[in-house]
């Protein structure tokens, strides 16, 4: 058992990551990133390739988005639970979360290029068509429909006056009981006739349009309150604004504490993080509903948000392990982070491996068992042909193998072994995201299940987003101390015992 360590033995201002030490790596990342981004831009400019590339870009974007989202999640969780162990690695969680504002830049193709979002989210095009078709229809049919309605009113009037005179003549010789019954009948008839002839019932352009849209695509019409361009843009911006505000706020508190060591900042971060968690849950859920579930607007699952969250938290923990080990290999954080921290991170990864499996199994199993046409489409596509191999691979390699590996204490406490598992987990997350996004491309683009050469685009997009984000991430590490050097819980964290 090692002796009790004191924060006084640590450098007062923490450790700063010297980016000059890695300037070669940075240069390489930057040049690779820029070159591949240019290549991606060229592909985007080509009309023929644009739709194919859109899927590649979404795949790359969503992979890194979930990693950054996980960084924010761990920061929030750390603060909200009053965690002691995590202080030593919290800065890295924050750094990962800080990539969220940058991801907005990588999300710009979806906002700026109409063809790109049109290729991904088909509801946009279909909705536009549905509306314009309905408008044309309404414009050309207003007269005939109005005439038909007037004819109907005329008929109803004739019928109504007949009924009324019949009832009135009956009233004359009716008993009081019958009278009441007849009066009721008369009132009902009057109301029905008034409703038919009233101005509200007259066909208008709007009512014909709505009716026509409902006839042509009832699903899309019903979803119009959520799936419409105005609200979609609003949400798109709102997600990034909210996520950016959350992470910048917490980061700000954390960094300012480095300077003044004020304990109140820890308390404030804790309180705010508790309040932020529901916001985080809502944003995460609807972001992945918008970007992934809506790749096929007819499909739905209440578990979707939870499923993506599980993978996001898991893989970002893997990234944290890798970054941590990288920094320690460069000589940083040696006195702050011990194998006890690795042990906890390994345990959390283990827990989330199980959680991911639980969630994805539940989702699959319930859809499979109930076998309702509306829901099975998602899995039908992924259980067909080569995608089935990927599905089975996910079961074995995303769950069983890491589950068994992480059961062993040695794997969790040996940085080298835990890094291997982390790399494995990230590879699995890549496959998971690929498996969510890319199968939609085949049927969507209508060129058969396999789009020739598309995998090259996927790799290119992944490299572009990945290299540039890695560059930004490494540079951001250099800005502040690598651990919160004056956090009141730092001493507890560096003396962590499992």
């Amino acid at each position: 058992m090692s002796a009790h360590k004191s924060v006084k033995d640590l450098p007062e201002d923490g450790e700063k990551f010297d980016i000059k030490k890695v300037s070669k790596l940075l240069g390489m990342l930057f040049s690779v990133g820029i070159l591949t981004t240019i290549a991606c831009a060229v592909i985007f400019l080509n009309q023929e390739w644009r739709a194919t590339m859109a899927y590649s870009w979404l795949f790359a974007f969503i992979f890194f988005f979930t990693l950054a989202l996980g960084g924010l999640f761990w920061t929030l969780l750390h603060n909200a639970t009053n965690s002691g162990w995590g202080v030593a690695v919290r800065r890295l969680m924050e750094n990962l979360g800080l990539m969220l504002p940058w991801l907005f830049v990588f999300a710009l193709p979806f906002v700026v290029i109409p063809d790109v979002r049109g290729a991904l989210w088909e509801w946009m095009g279909e909705r536009r068509e549905m509306i314009s078709e309905a408008e044309d229809y309404a414009a050309s049919h207003l007269e005939t429909e109005t005439a038909e309605w007037e004819e109907k009113v005329r008929e109803a009037r004739a019928r109504f006056s007949e009924v009324r005179s019949g009832i009135e003549s009956g009233m004359a010789k009716a008993t009081p009981g019958e009278k009441a019954f007849l009066q009721e009948k008369l009132d009902a008839e009057t109301a029905a006739f008034d409703a038919l002839k009233s101005e509200d019932a007259a066909p208008t352009v709007e009512s014909i349009k709505a009716h026509h849209m409902k006839e042509s695509n009832v699903l899309l019409y019903n979803k119009g309150g959520f799936l419409n361009m105005g609200f979609w843009f609003f949400r798109f911006i709102a997600y990034f604004v909210i996520l950016t505000l959350l992470i910048r706020f917490l980061r700000g508190l954390s960094v300012r504490q480095d300077a003044d060591g004020d304990e109140k900042r820890t308390m404030l971060a804790r309180r705010m993080s508790c309040g932020f968690l529901p916001l985080f849950a809502v944003v995460t859920t609807f972001a992945v509903i918008d970007w992934l579930m809506c790749l096929d607007y007819t499909w739905f699952s209440t578990m979707w948000g939870v499923y993506l969250f599980a993978g996001s938290a898991l893989s970002s923990m893997a990234v944290l392990v890798l970054v941590l080990t990288y920094l320690r290999n460069l000589g940083y954080l040696r006195d702050v982070v011990t194998e006890e921290h690795y042990h906890i991170m390994g345990k959390l990864m283990h827990a989330f491996v199980i959680f991911w499996a639980y969630i994805s199994f539940s989702q699959y199993f319930l859809i499979w068992y109930a076998n309702i046409t509306e829901e099975t489409r998602f899995f039908l596509m992924r259980n067909t042909g080569h995608w089935n191999t990927v599905s089975i691979l996910l079961v074995v390699c995303h769950f069983f193998i890491p589950f068994l590996a992480l059961l062993q204490k040695r794997v969790k406490t040996t940085p080298r072994l835990l890094c291997a598992v982390s790399l494995w987990m990230i590879a699995m997350h890549i496959i998971d995201m690929y498996w969510i996004v890319i199968p939609e491309r085949g049927p969507s683009l209508g060129a058969g299940v396999v789009v020739p050469g598309a995998i090259f685009f996927d790799v290119l997009a992944f490299t572009a987003v990945g290299a540039l984000l890695a560059y930004i991430f490494l540079r951001s590490l250099g800005k502040d101390s690598l651990y919160p050097c004056r956090d009141p819980r730092l001493e507890e964290s560096i003396n962590l015992m499992n």
């Binding site: 058992m1 009790h4 002691g84 009832v218 699903l219 019903n222 979803k223 959520f226 304990e263 109140k264 820890t266 308390m267 508790c274 309040g275 529901p278 849950a281 859920t285 007819t298 739905f300 699952s301 209440t302 578990m303 979707w304 948000g305 939870v306 639980y358 969630i359 539940s362 989702q363 199993f365 319930l366 859809i367 068992y369 109930a370 076998n371 309702i372 509306e374 009141p488 819980r489 499992n498």
Partner: protein, 469 residues
């Protein structure tokens, strides 16, 4: 700070800055802890114990009467009908089985997460779990109609050579619940062994000493005993962790694997598990807040414990709220006519809309008061919210089961369900049985794990006092 004396009053005021709160207040010694906890078993019970016990016994008798009446008269004395074949019986089953989740969560999951505050409440919570599962078991067994044939549920050869339907989630329930019960009993009993030995050692020779001695399995408290015990405890904790999730997931499959609108939705398993933990913690607080006052255990079950449990209730209540809202959103978004109608019936037009609002208020709105520290520290507020949650979780199961069955696809098959006095009395009777078992547990077994709670004292830390050298 850990060495300073903290009184309950100071603890009320809250943590001073970021310092960790002590888990045992007033710097109590190990001897005090033993005396106080064993005293509950060894001393005469307070009058209040009898005041609670006798009515509970009477209610348990009512339960027995109702069941005998049911069996001797026939299932017609219940209000179940077509289409609402499940009614109160299954509502109560899911209600009780949900309550039976907090115990193992506290014992297993919080243990694995190194949440040391669990030590003061785990024993009572586990006991409560067992009694709740017993109450739960009564309902499906009698709901099968001819309950003496209930053993047909087990896959053992029977006279008619009938095999169970392994594709049915109802059968999985049998396995899930019985496994959960058995493992929970073993886990609970294993934890009791050292404390039973403590009581044995304090008893005068006689029948009492003999009985406690028998159940203490020859525990001598040696180093080897403790080492084996701790390893066994850890392994059982790891093994029972999946059970916390599996039982209510399987219960949720009873509904979600069907194609019934309002039942079939993918979020059901985690939503049910969160709801079960939610209801379970509310019941733990309902029992422990009075118990700590009656037996003077405030220094062991402190405001921090209540505070933590209130936070768990807030968290799980909000998860349940997330699931409710997600269900509504997808029912609308999915565009399935039957699904959206099912929710329309639940909320706006059906015969049971009040139940939905009660459920939503009790489960989602009422716990939100726990965002405020003063609310978590006012025991009356905590008790009030826990009562809301206890009721709310029952409403939830009623809403899921009855409102759905009463209004399914074909209007011609719609129906209405109203519980009879027999069902109501049976349910009331289970509360009597539950409370009776819990009071007997308080009377005969140590309510707090003596050995474990000593482990969280500052002086149990091998580094305790290092700074003074």
């Amino acid at each position: 700070m850990p060495n300073g004396t903290t009184t309950a009053d100071e603890a009320m005021k809250g943590p001073q800055g970021v310092a960790r709160e002590p888990l045992v207040l007033n710097n109590r010694s190990m001897n005090w802890i033993t005396e106080r906890i064993c005293g509950v078993v060894e001393n005469r019970q307070p009058l209040l114990w009898w005041v609670l016990f006798l009515p509970s016994l009477a209610l348990a008798g009512l339960l027995a009467f109702c069941l005998v009446y049911l069996v001797s008269t026939g299932v017609g004395v219940w209000g179940n009908n077509q289409p609402v074949a499940w009614g109160w019986a299954i509502t109560n089953f899911v209600f009780w089985i949900g309550i039976g989740h907090a115990g193992t969560l506290i014992s297993a999951i919080l243990f694995l997460m190194r949440q040391r505050w669990r030590t003061s409440i785990n024993r009572a919570a586990e006991a409560m779990t067992l009694f709740a599962v017993m109450c739960a078991g009564i309902f499906p067994v009698f709901h099968v109609g001819r309950f003496w044939m209930a053993w047909f549920l087990a896959p053992i050869p029977n006279a008619n050579a009938i095999w169970q339907n392994f594709k049915s989630p109802l059968l999985w329930d049998v396995f899930a619940v019985s496994t959960y019960f058995i493992v929970s009993v073993i886990f609970w009993y294993l934890g009791l062994v050292p404390d039973l030995a403590t009581i044995r050692d304090r008893c005068k020779p006689g029948i009492k000493k003999l009985l406690y001695g028998m159940f203490a399995l020859g525990w001598r408290g040696g180093n080897r005993h403790w080492r084996h015990y701790e390893m066994g405890y850890l392994l059982l904790a790891a093994l029972s962790t999946p059970l916390v999730l599996s039982v209510h997931s399987v219960v949720s499959f009873d509904f979600a694997t069907s194609v019934v609108p309002g039942w079939h939705t993918t979020i059901f398993p985690p939503y049910f598990v969160a709801g079960a933990i939610f209801g379970g913690f509310a019941m733990v607080l309902t029992l422990m807040i009075p118990a700590r006052a009656i037996y003077g255990l405030q220094d062991l079950i402190t405001h921090k414990h209540v505070d933590n449990m209130a936070k768990i209730i807030l968290l799980t209540g909000s998860i349940v709220g997330y699931a409710y809202i997600m269900e509504l959103f997808i029912a609308w978004y999915g565009g399935n006519k039957f699904e959206s109608d099912a929710f329309h019936m639940r909320i706006l037009s059906g015969p049971y809309t009040t139940y939905y609002y009660c459920m939503f208020f009790c489960n989602v709105i009422s716990p939100q008061i726990f965002w405020f520290r003063w609310a978590r520290h006012n025991l009356w507020v905590v008790m009030a919210v826990c009562m809301c949650v206890n009721a709310g979780m029952w409403f939830e199961r009623f809403v899921i089961i009855v409102t759905t069955l009463a209004r399914d696809f074909v209007p011609g098959a719609w129906g209405f369900y109203k519980a009879t006095w027999v069902e109501k009395s049976t349910f009331l009777g289970t509360f009597g049985f539950f409370l009776m078992c819990f009071l007997l547990f308080l009377r005969f077994l140590p309510v707090i794990a003596v050995g474990e709670v000593k482990g969280v004292l500052p002086e149990s830390n091998p580094h305790h006092g290092d700074d003074e050298h």
